[in-house]
C-alpha cells in the first residue's frame, strides 16, 4: 500500500540530513562533481562549507573517504552512479568494511551509491550493484526509497560505528510517499519488493487483482542483514509461494539469496526471485533491461501460481 504524505521529498530529506551533518557533527560530504549542475539531483546542499570535491580518481577517492572516516569525521561519500562502486570497491571493502575485524577500530563511511536506469543510462551505469557487496563481511546494506526510511537509516548510521552502503535510486528522489506492507487474508502469493520496483507496488497489486490474484506485498529496506520477520513467516505459511523482486540482476544476487533464506525458513514453500536479465542493458530501446515491469511481475506471479 502507498501512503500519500505532504512532506519533503527523498532528495530534500537527504539534503537536510547532509546539511545538518555538516553543521552539527563537523561532518563532510565527499565525492566527484558534487557541485555540478543540480548538486547531485538536489541531494547535496548548495554550499562550499563541508563539501570536499575529489579529483576524478576512483579507487583513491574511496581511500580518501575511508581515511576521513578513520580520522573520525563520519563522511558521506557520494558515488553518482552505482557503476562507480566497481572502481571504488577495494578501499570500501578492505579498508572500511573489514577494518573493525582486522584492526578493532572502525571506518564509518556513509556510502551513497546512486542507481539510475533507462535508455539514457547505458550498459554500465544502469541500475544497482549492491549484490556483490553483500558477499563481504562488515558492510550493512540498505535500499531506502522514502523520506522516512532515509531518516531511519541515517539514525542507524549515526549510532553505529560501521560503514553503510546505501543503495539509492534516482527514481526515488522526487517522491514523498511512504510504503506500507499490504497483508490480506486471502492472498495467494507473497511479494518482497526491493529498490525501484517498489514504486510499482500499487500497479502490480491492481493488475494482479484483475487477474483474480490477491498478494501480500512487503517492502524491504534492509538487504544485509536481512532479518526474517514474523509477518513474513505468517504470510509464507499462508500463501506457500513467494517472489523476491529487485532492480538488479536476477542471478547470483541478493534477491536470490533472500529467496533461499525464506524458503529454508518456512519449509514447504516455493520462493523464487525476479530481476534484470543476465545480459547488459543498452541505450537503444531494443536493449532495455532494468527493473522488472509490473507486467513482467504479474506474468511471473501467474506462472508461479499456476505451476503446481
Amino acid at each position: 500500500m502507498v501512503k500519500k504524505i505532504m512532506g519533503k521529498t527523498v532528495a530534500e530529506t537527504i539534503r537536510d540530513i547532509s546539511k545538518k551533518h555538516i553543521e552539527k557533527n563537523k561532518g563532510v560530504i565527499m565525492g566527484q562533481c558534487l557541485s555540478a549542475v543540480g548538486w547531485v539531483q538536489n541531494t547535496v546542499p548548495a554550499q562550499k562549507k563541508g563539501i570536499i570535491e575529489f579529483p576524478m580518481t576512483d579507487v583513491a577517492g574511496a581511500g580518501f573517504a575511508v581515511g576521513a572516516a578513520v580520522g573520525g569525521r563520519k563522511p558521506i561519500f557520494i558515488l553518482r552512479f552505482q557503476s562507480f562502486l566497481w572502481l571504488n570497491a577495494s578501499p570500501l571493502i578492505n579498508n572500511a568494511a573489514k577494518s573493525k575485524e582486522i584492526f578493532g577500530y572502525s571506518a564509518p563511511v556513509f556510502i551513497r551509491a546512486i542507481a539510475s536506469e533507462g535508455i539514457s543510462s547505458g550498459p554500465i551505469h544502469t541500475n544497482c550493484y549492491h549484490s556483490p557487496f553483500a558477499h563481504m563481511p562488515g558492510l550493512p546494506i540498505c535500499a531506502p526509497m522514502t523520506p522516512k526510511e532515509y531518516k531511519k537509516i541515517w539514525q542507524f548510521f549515526k549510532k553505529s560505528d560501521l560503514p553503510l552502503l546505501v543503495s539509492e535510486h534516482r527514481r526515488s528522489y522526487k517522491e514523498k510517499k511512504e510504503f506500507i506492507d499490504d497483508i490480506n487474508k486471502n492472498s495467494k502469493v507473497t511479494l518482497f519488493l526491493i529498490s525501484a520496483v517498489r514504486f510499482q507496488s500499487l500497479e502490480i497489486k491492481n493488475k494482479l487483482k484483475k487477474l483474480g490474484i490477491t498478494a501480500d506485498i512487503f517492502h524491504l529496506l534492509w538487504l544485509k542483514p536481512f532479518n526474517i520477520k514474523k509477518k513474513y513467516i505468517d504470510s509464507l505459511k499462508k500463501t506457500k509461494k513467494a517472489i523476491v523482486i529487485d532492480s538488479t540482476y536476477e542471478i547470483c544476487g541478493i534477491s536470490e539469496h533472500i529467496a533461499y533464506k525464506l524458503m529454508n525458513k518456512v519449509k514447504g514453500t516455493k520462493v523464487i526471485n525476479l530481476g534484470m536479465k543476465d545480459r547488459s542493458p543498452g541505450c537503444s530501446v531494443k536493449f532495455i533491461n532494468g527493473t522488472p515491469s509490473s507486467n513482467e511481475v504479474c506474468k511471473k506471479v501467474s506462472k508461479l501460481i499456476n505451476n503446481k
Binding site: 563532510v28 570536499i52 575529489f54 579529483p55 580518481t57 579507487v59 583513491a60 577517492g61 574511496a62 581511500g63 580518501f64 573517504a65 575511508v66 581515511g67 576521513a68 572516516a69 578513520v70 580520522g71 573520525g72 569525521r73 577495494s90 578501499p91 578492505n94 579498508n95 573489514k98 575485524e101 582486522i102 584492526f103 578493532g104 577500530y105
Partner: protein, 299 residues
C-alpha cells in the same frame, strides 16, 4: 647503479652527530635483534604465519621515529620497524606473528595489519599502497599532526598512489610520504617495471621530493628541513632488503648490495664507540631471545 652513497650528506662526525647516530643505532639494533630472532624461529618452523621482515631497512624507521615526534603513521606490510621504532609493544608483535589472541590484531593477519593507535600507528590490510589514499584522507581531516605514510617502490607504481600525490598537493596536506625503495617488487627489479623516477612524478604534482640513500644522518637532516613546512613531501629512500620478500630466507646479495646496519656500526666503532655498540647489541640479543622463547612457549 650503486645507491649506497646516493645524495648522501657529507657531514662531520662531531660530538652532536655521534650522539645522534648512537640513538639511531640503538633503535636499529633493537629492531634488528627482534627480526633476527623472528627469522630464526620461522626458519625452525616454530610458527608459520605470514611474515615480512624488515632486516636491512632498520635505519629508515629508526631515524624517522627520532626525527618526527607526535606524528601519525600509516605503514605497509613490512611494518615491524615502524611499529618497534615508535614504541609498539614487542610482546604483542611476537604474539601477532605467532597467531595468538593477545597479538596486535588478535592473531588475524601476521605482519601486514600490525598497529597500535596509542603510538599513532594505523595498520595495513595487505594490498600494497592502498594505505596511501587512506593516509591522505586521514591527513585531510587532521591537519594539525604530521601524517607519515610509508610504502615501497613497488606500491609506488599503483595508480591510486600516484593519484594521491595529486590530491595531497591540491589540498596542501601535512603529509610526509616515505618510499622504502629496496629496488625490488618481490624479486623483480625496478628497471624491469618502470622507466620513470618516483621523485620526478611527485615533483610534477607540485610535491617537494628528494631521493636519498638510507644513511641515518642524511635522512635525519633532510627530514628536519622538510618538517618545518607543513606541506606534502616525499622522501624516496634507497635501501637494501636483506631477507626474502615474505617468510624466512636470505636474498642473494646483488652486485650493489650494502648493509646500512654494518656501515653505521663500523662508523661508531671507528669513533671509539665500540663498547657502546657491543653492549647495545648484547642487550638486544639477550632481550629478544628471552622474549621470543617465552612467547613461543604459549603455542
Amino acid at each position: 647503479m650503486n645507491f649506497q652513497n646516493y645524495n648522501i650528506l657529507k657531514l662531520s662526525y662531531n660530538q652532536k652527530n655521534i650522539e645522534l647516530l648512537k640513538k639511531i643505532f640503538f633503535k636499529m639494533s633493537y629492531i634488528r635483534q627482534f627480526e633476527l630472532r623472528a627469522y630464526e624461529s620461522r626458519l625452525e618452523k616454530k610458527f608459520e604465519t605470514l611474515i615480512y621482515l624488515c632486516l636491512g631497512q632498520e635505519s629508515i624507521y629508526s631515524t624517522v621515529a627520532l626525527s618526527i615526534k607526535n606524528s601519525i603513521s600509516f605503514g605497509q606490510h613490512r611494518g615491524h620497524g615502524i611499529y618497534l621504532a615508535n614504541g609498539g609493544s614487542p610482546k604483542k608483535l611476537v604474539d601477532e606473528l605467532i597467531g595468538l589472541n593477545t597479538g596486535t590484531n588478535k592473531g588475524m593477519g601476521g605482519s601486514p595489519p600490525i598497529f597500535d593507535k596509542k603510538i599513532g600507528m594505523y595498520g595495513h590490510v595487505g594490498l600494497i599502497g592502498d594505505q596511501v589514499p587512506v593516509a591522505a584522507g586521514y591527513s585531510l581531516v587532521n591537519k594539525s599532526k604530521k601524517t607519515i605514510c610509508y610504502f615501497g617502490d613497488g606500491a609506488a607504481e599503483e595508480d591510486y598512489v600516484l593519484a594521491t600525490f595529486g590530491f595531497a598537493s591540491q589540498k596542501k596536506l601535512n603529509i610526509l610520504f616515505i618510499c622504502d625503495d629496496n629496488d625490488l617488487s618481490v624479486l623483480t627489479p625496478t628497471k624491469d617495471r618502470r622507466s620513470w623516477k618516483l621523485v620526478d612524478v611527485a615533483k610534477s604534482f607540485g610535491i617537494n621530493a628528494i631521493d636519498i640513500t638510507d644513511d641515518p644522518l642524511t635522512i635525519y637532516y633532510n627530514i628536519k628541513k622538510i618538517e618545518k613546512k607543513n606541506v606534502p613531501a616525499l622522501i624516496n629512500i634507497r635501501t637494501c632488503r636483506e631477507y626474502w620478500h615474505e617468510g624466512a630466507g636470505k636474498d642473494k646479495e646483488g652486485k650493489y648490495f650494502w648493509s646500512r646496519y654494518k656501515i653505521v656500526k663500523k662508523i661508531l666503532e671507528n669513533k671509539n664507540q665500540e663498547k657502546f655498540v657491543n653492549s647495545t647489541e648484547m642487550l638486544h640479543k639477550k632481550w629478544s631471545k628471552k622474549l621470543w622463547e617465552k612467547q613461543l612457549q604459549k603455542l
